[in-house]
Amino acid sequence: MISLSDANQRSITRFRRKLSAAMVLVASATTILALYLTQHNVAVTATRDLQQNFQTELSGLHQVEELRQAALAERCRVLAEKPRIHAALEDNALDLLYPSAKDELRDLMEGDTPVAQQGAGSLHARFYRFLDSSGAVLSPPNSKDVGELSPQAEAQLALKQLLETQQIGYIRENTDAAKETVHEIVAAPIFSTETGNVISALVVGFKPFELSGRGTGAGMKSGIWADNRLYLPSFPKEVRTALDNEIAKAVGNSRSAQNNFVVTINGAPQLLFYRRLNPDSLFPPAYEVCVYSLADSMAQLHRLRWQIGGAGVLLLLGGFVASHFVALRFAIPVQKLALDSQKNRAKRRRADIALVSTRKKLQRSTRYSADASHQLKSPVTVLRAGLEGLLARDDFKPEIYEELSALLHQTHRLTGVIEDLLLLARMDAGHLQLESQPVNLSQLIEEWLDDLGALSDSPYVKIEKKFPPDLYVAGEKHYTSLIVQNLLENARKYNWPDGLIRVNAHKNRNEIVLTVGNTGQPIARHAQSHVFDRFHRGGTATNISGHGLGLNLARELARLHGGDLRLVCSENDWTEFEVRFVSSPPTANGPSQNT
């Protein structure tokens, strides 16, 4: 029983701790992201809603302005047609201008309702003045009729030149030290009915339109920023002064006629919108300023922040518990894995040791076979030479010659065994190098079949062959020849007298398949699986020449050539082997020459 080592136990604990930390981290990141997105979303929504409200309020203002401008244009057109106005302007009787216009503009000044109660949307003016053709203000003889205006304020009515379009402006007036008023002024051109030129202008002062703040209920305050100062009576002076600087900065920096930014008033954040009231006007720029309290959206944000924060904490706690369990659960397979790997490591170490030992054994055995073969070859050669020398003598009895020739036959057999062993040893050691080239298999088979027939000790066997004339395989001719020779010799050796050998070969895709079948006693079923073992002779009669290395050698060589050798069947007096070679195209020089 393998138990986890302390080091493994520690690393698993570390893994579990890291997994928990990662999950906590993910939960925290999710919470923070949700908080950020929600906050952003709330801020964007609030700004958009307030922006819409501001635009809606402004559209009311524009409606009033358009109404006033249209009314004034009409008023000026009518005025211009008045002969007395004309006479006063053209006959150099400016002192008569105001008296002449008094009647015409009486309704402009005298409403049915007192001035203080008049709605901002009304057309009732606070004052009016005429400008002469150069844009200078024509002072009225009696300002009571045309609306009182301080000289400083009156001076602001002048224009550098008269234009053919109406000009909107905003001027401020300090009626006394504490009270400050802003007038909306509209300068409407008066065209001569005779020349069509602008001969004068009527400047009318109105009470500025006050935004009602209906859209958001309480919390919205609007004012006018003109002459670099903010007119917003509901704010104390120091707040207005602070806002003056902010707005001046924003207006100075931004080229657009409208924008918004957040300001802090008395510690509370407010969203401030501004928009140019008189674009393209000759009068100094003035801006409508709207301040919206962000208290509601801040409260909403605060609430949401708490909710999300709470949810985040819950998530965190849940995540912590879950991560603990998940980490435990995840750690089990990891623990198992660690245990397995520890077992596997032990096994592998043993296998490695066994492999090394086997490799050494194999090397030893291979070297031994090669050495033995070499050591055997020389005495056998000496023996054979001695026997052949004795056979050459003629002074022995005839039975001696028989014995000598049997011995010589045995030396030939011994040489075959040694050569086969040597070849196998070289193959086992991986020393056998092939020089692959196209080999004409059909020709090889034909040659070996011819040799079979020529053998003196061969009983008669019938041969059936069926293969195309030029089958080429990739291999080394010597070894390919050995394979074919082995199979054909076995087919002859283990045959009945008057038996049959059937040789077939054909091409199958990129393989050449050669089958060699023969009649004869089949290989015993239990021995069939050992037929390719070394020194195994398939339980056949021992009187048949052979040493039990041929099939093994043939199969090793077939495999070395990229092919294989197998026993197809051995039953009912019929044994058949199949060998497969790698097909090869013929050489460019034509079929290889048989040597």
């Binding site: 008045k82 002969p83 007395r84 004309h86 006479a87 006959d91 008569l96 020349t195």
Partner: protein
């Protein structure tokens, strides 16, 4: 004398209107007033002149008078008129009146200068009265010819009022029983 080229084809029963071009008042078709400048003894009594309102226009549209002359403004239309002037030479306002208004509304012009007549009700109506120191003046024909008779002898300046901004002058020496020919180029 040569008058500015007329802009409209002459028609029968020609009406003379006062038109403004760039703030300059003149008659259309053009007419001029030729007068003998100088100081002459004042007359004891001036004949009463008339500028009527007929068919929503002043008739005549251009009237030269001597200082001190009383001009009546009879309303010959079947509607109200309200004749007034803001001219420095004479400011007056006759108020609204109907044709049957009696006595006929009138004004005495005692300061020399050009007086623009307007109607407060009909803004297009314009009339001119040229108040002169001299009793010797005449309105030219439409073709620019004029004849002044009964002039005292002596050296004078003959002036021609063409429009509210243009007055030409020529020195002239008058002799008894002799007709002098003066051309204003």
């Amino acid at each position: 004398m040569e008058l500015p080229k007329s802009h409209s084809a002459p028609v029968v029963a020609q009406r003379y209107e006062i038109v403004t071009h760039g703030g300059v008042l003149s008659t259309q078709p053009p007419l001029a007033i030729v007068y003998l400048d100088g100081s002459f003894p004042k007359r004891a009594a001036h004949p009463i002149k008339q500028v009527a309102q007929k068919d929503l226009a002043f008739v005549p549209s251009l009237l030269p008078v001597q200082v001190g002359t009383k001009v009546e403004f009879p309303n010959l239309d079947d509607t109200y008129h309200s004749i007034f002037s803001y001219s420095p030479a004479k400011r007056f306002d006759l108020g609204r009146y109907r044709p049957e208004e009696r006595p006929i509304p009138s004004e005495v012009f005692d300061v020399p200068g050009l007086v623009t007549l307007r109607c407060d009700i009909h803004e297009h109506m314009r009339g001119l009265i040229l108040v002169l120191n001299t009793p010797y003046f005449v309105v030219t024909n439409p073709d620019g010819r004029f004849r002044l008779s009964g002039l005292p002898s002596g050296r004078y300046t003959l002036k021609a009022w063409i429009d509210s901004k243009t007055t030409r002058e020529q020195p002239v020496e008058l002799k008894n029983g002799v007709t002098a020919h003066v051309d204003f180029p």
